[in-house]
């Protein structure tokens, strides 16, 4: 079935297309929609109602997850702004950025053999978190001024940083696995 509650996630939650998102409004809108469409509201309903409820609730969740996460939100805003995005074919060629990423990778690789890997992971995470903040601000400025292409490049960097953070997370997960 074609789902078209409203095409735009921002409109769905009645929020302005703005990177500075009011998380509280987002959350409360999400909850009101879930309260209405969650399949639990339809346990005595017909099979068709249940099926549609699952689809609607899934759609609301997808919209919510997209807007909640800053990187996904940035990418989605570019999409709303009319850019065609293709994660697989976009690369970044900013040498300073690439250098820094390589250094961080090396730091991470080395910490496998050191005394207190957790502490080093925390240190790297802190550094990356700060970078995320910087890029987010930059993205916001560029987007507002209508420089979508430049904003897209920043959003790529945000994606890189996020992926590295995820990898650190997985690495820490493995470290703990060994301890349990």
């Amino acid at each position: 079935m074609h789902i078209d509650i409203k095409q735009n996630y921002f409109e769905l939650f009645e929020l302005p297309v703005d990177f500075r998102l009011d998380q509280k409004s987002l959350h409360s809108a999400q909850q009101r929609l879930q309260s209405a469409f969650h399949p639990d509201r339809f346990v005595s309903g017909t099979e068709q109602e249940k099926r549609i409820a699952v689809q609607k609730a899934a759609w609301v969740n997808e919209a919510y997850e997209t807007l909640k996460n800053p990187v996904k939100r940035a990418r989605y805003m570019l999409h709303v702004g009319g850019l065609e995005l293709n994660d697989e074919h976009e690369t970044t060629s900013d040498p300073a950025f690439l250098m820094e990423q390589i250094e961080i990778r090396e730091e991470l690789d080395q910490c496998r053999n050191c005394q207190d890997p957790m502490r080093i992971c925390d240190h790297i995470t802190g550094k990356l978190d700060q970078r995320s903040q910087e890029y987010a601000t930059k993205f916001m400025d560029l987007y507002q001024q209508g420089y979508l292409e430049q904003a897209r490049q920043v959003s790529r960097k945000m994606q890189f940083v996020e992926r590295t953070l995820e990898q650190i997370d997985e690495y820490q997960f493995d470290l703990e696995e060994d301890l349990i």
């Binding site: 079935m1 309260s35 639990d40 068709q48 609730a57 919510y64 997985e170 349990i180």
Partner: protein, 623 residues
């Protein structure tokens, strides 16, 4: 139709009729059933006053025993007395190797099914059938107590249960002829039992230490909505390990050299007794007479604590990890709920309190708390509490991935995404005229497919033949509120829907379920046909009623005349066939009504979004 329930959540058409809905805790070691008995939700005892039903089933020549009578036969007839089958729910033959020590049964090697079957004297059975026997006894207990048939049940499952394990649980309920309103995660049920859903906001840790398993879950609660932020634990750690620790100490103290099975059993029983006594007293005496052995040992709590210190520490390590997983600091935890009999151990209580820096909740019986929570939710879903807005949102416990080149897994939906959830992916063909393709779906966090749990192989057929790379096949993966997955596929340029054949890796096929149903009934064919027909008649009535009320409300507003007529035609023809004795014809009639009204239902839902968001409370929305 659908939106009727928005104004009156879960309400059926007869508003004053009370529905009896039970909560069932289907546990590894013990199971329980709870229900709302005139305003009080409580677990139900058997005729001898036992609330716990040991999750043990004994297969005799012709007879099947469940619970205590089965447990009593465990020592003398171990191969036909099945316990802890929850460990193999939704598991495959390969998994048995790792579980062998815990499940000393004979498995049937000569079977085409993906589901392991245990050989008993009576027949070979799957864990699903064994669980169904347990569910039947619990449902019967509830129905006898209430003097009414159950309208539906909520069954609890561990938060980390994967798709196959959840599906197996649902299949067991189907075999037991129970309507499942919802599978609810155990920690969420425990939190509901404590009424934590009534508070406005909080982060709740549920510490569940049972006989043989340990689970920790971190829940986020916000205005009646629960989200599971993270889960963790250890599937082979529990109160039994404490008994073993004491047992080893006894063996060491008594200088016992050779131990046979019977002696070990006696030692473990004595150890367990000592453990339980140390809950309320500072010291206890272990007395044990066996053959020439005559033991009299004193064990105080301090020593006991030293024996189990490492076990408790292990659980706290899991807690630490779950917190990090949830990105939550210890100081943010607002409540700690204790579940499972082993949380009565004072050291556990003390250490957990210290770790979370929070007084754990212990007022409810830790053995019963999950069943009570499930019953509360069952009551809401049955429509007995229309004023209550309790909505439990779960998350996907493990990431859903597909296999890509080289046996690597690619994440489609990440773990901890709120469910229901759907995600689409586009594929293309790589050969000219290609009309079929296969997708292997797995669940897990690891990079290699071989390290994840295989869920199913999907075969898409009927893709229109085109040149290589021209077809655009959109595959949509959907997970429902129970955590169960389904897959849809469509070729975008032609709009053709691909046929999907599912080969579940560890589940039962529909044919297998049907044959099990047949086995479980005396007058096989007739009974099944009658049940199918009755089910379809109920569904047909429900469809017509819902449609009529929806049409009366806003058929005029949302439909063009020819659309309205088309729906009415389908409706009338279903109405006419309702008394026919043909289940298949009814099924087709329902399908016709559904497809005729699909667009109407969707329009109504869309129309109500605005109302939901315009700030009105749900029950004020006029639909």
């Amino acid at each position: 139709m659908a939106l009727l329930q928005i104004s009156e959540p879960g309400q059926t058409t007869a508003p004053h009729q009370r529905n009896y809905a039970a909560g069932i805790d289907l546990g590894t070691t013990n199971s329980l059933v709870a229900i709302n008995r005139s305003g009080q939700v409580e677990t139900l005892p058997d005729s001898e006053g036992h609330h716990l039903l040991p999750s043990v089933v004994h297969y005799g020549e012709t007879q099947i025993l469940v619970g205590y009578p089965a447990q009593r036969l465990q020592a003398e007839d171990p191969l036909n007395t099945l316990s802890s089958v929850k460990r193999i729910m939704g598991r495959g033959i390969d998994d048995l190797k790792t579980l062998k020590n815990m499940l000393p049964y004979e498995f049937d090697g000569n079977t085409d099914s993906h589901v392991p079957r245990i050989i008993t004297r009576q027949k070979s059975v799957s864990a699903i059938e064994v669980s169904a026997e347990i569910l039947k006894v619990l449902a019967q207990r509830a129905e006898q107590t209430m003097g009414e048939k159950l309208s539906g049940v909520v069954i609890t499952v561990p938060a980390y249960f994967d798709d196959a394990q959840r599906q197996a649980t649902r299949d067991a309920a189907r075999l037991a002829d129970l309507k499942v309103y919802r599978l609810l995660s155990e920690p969420t049920a425990a939190a509901v039992a404590y009424g934590l859903d009534q508070q406005s906001d909080g982060i709740i840790a549920v510490y569940d230490l049972g006989g043989g398993t340990f689970d920790i879950s971190i829940l986020h609660l916000n205005k009646g909505v629960f989200e599971v932020l993270a889960t963790g634990g250890n599937s082979s750690l529990g109160g039994d390990d404490m008994d073993h620790a004491i047992g080893e100490w006894i063996i060491e103290q008594a200088g016992i050299g050779k131990i046979d099975h019977f002696l070990l059993r006696h030692i473990l029983i004595a150890a367990r007794k000592a453990k339980e006594e140390l809950t309320n007293s500072a010291s206890t005496t272990i007395q044990l007479k066996y053959k020439e052995l005559d033991l009299n040992l004193k064990l105080d709590r301090e020593l006991f604590n030293a024996l189990i210190k490492d076990l408790v520490k292990k659980t706290l390590m899991s807690c630490r990890r779950a917190l990090r997983d949830a990105k939550i600091k210890t100081s943010e935890i607002t409540n700690v709920v204790m579940v499972g009999g082993s949380t009565r151990v004072p050291l556990v209580l003390e250490q957990v309190g210290t770790f979370f820096d929070c007084e754990p909740l212990t007022e409810l019986d830790p053995d019963r708390v999950v069943a009570i929570g499930a019953a509360l939710q069952a009551d809401v879903l049955a429509g007995n509490k229309p004023d209550q807005e309790l909505l439990l949102l779960d998350v996907l416990p493990l990431s859903l991935c597909i296999e890509t080149m080289g046996g690597l897994s690619e994440k489609i939906i990440s773990r901890n995404s709120p469910i229901p959830v759907a995600r689409a992916q586009e594929f293309t063909t790589f050969k000219d005229g290609q009309t079929a393709m296969a997708v292997h779906v797995v669940q897990g966090e690891r990079e290699l497919v071989s390290d994840c749990r295989s869920l199913a192989h999907f075969e898409l057929r009927g893709i229109p033949p085109m040149t290589a790379g021209a077809a655009r096949i959109k595959v949509t993966y959907q997970v429902d509120a129970d955590g169960l997955m389904s897959v849809m596929a469509e070729e975008l340029s032609s709009g053709v829907r691909a046929d999907i054949t599912i080969k579940p890796s560890y589940g039962l096929t529909d044919t297998e379920i049907e044959s099990m149903l047949r086995d479980s009934m005396s007058n096989a064919k007739q009974d099944i046909d009658a049940r199918m027909l009755a089910e379809q008649q109920v569904e047909a009535r429900r469809v017509i009623e819902a449609l009529d009320s929806a049409l009366a409300k806003d058929g005029q507003e949302l439909l063009l005349e020819n659309e309205l007529n088309q729906i009415k035609r389908a409706r009338d023809s279903l109405q006419q066939s309702i008394h026919s004795a043909n289940a298949d014809a009814l099924k087709r009639g329902i399908k016709k009504v559904e497809s005729a009204s699909e667009e109407f239902v969707a329009r109504r839902m869309n129309a109500s979004v605005k109302k939901v968001l315009s700030g009105k409370k749900i029950d004020e929305v006029d639909v």
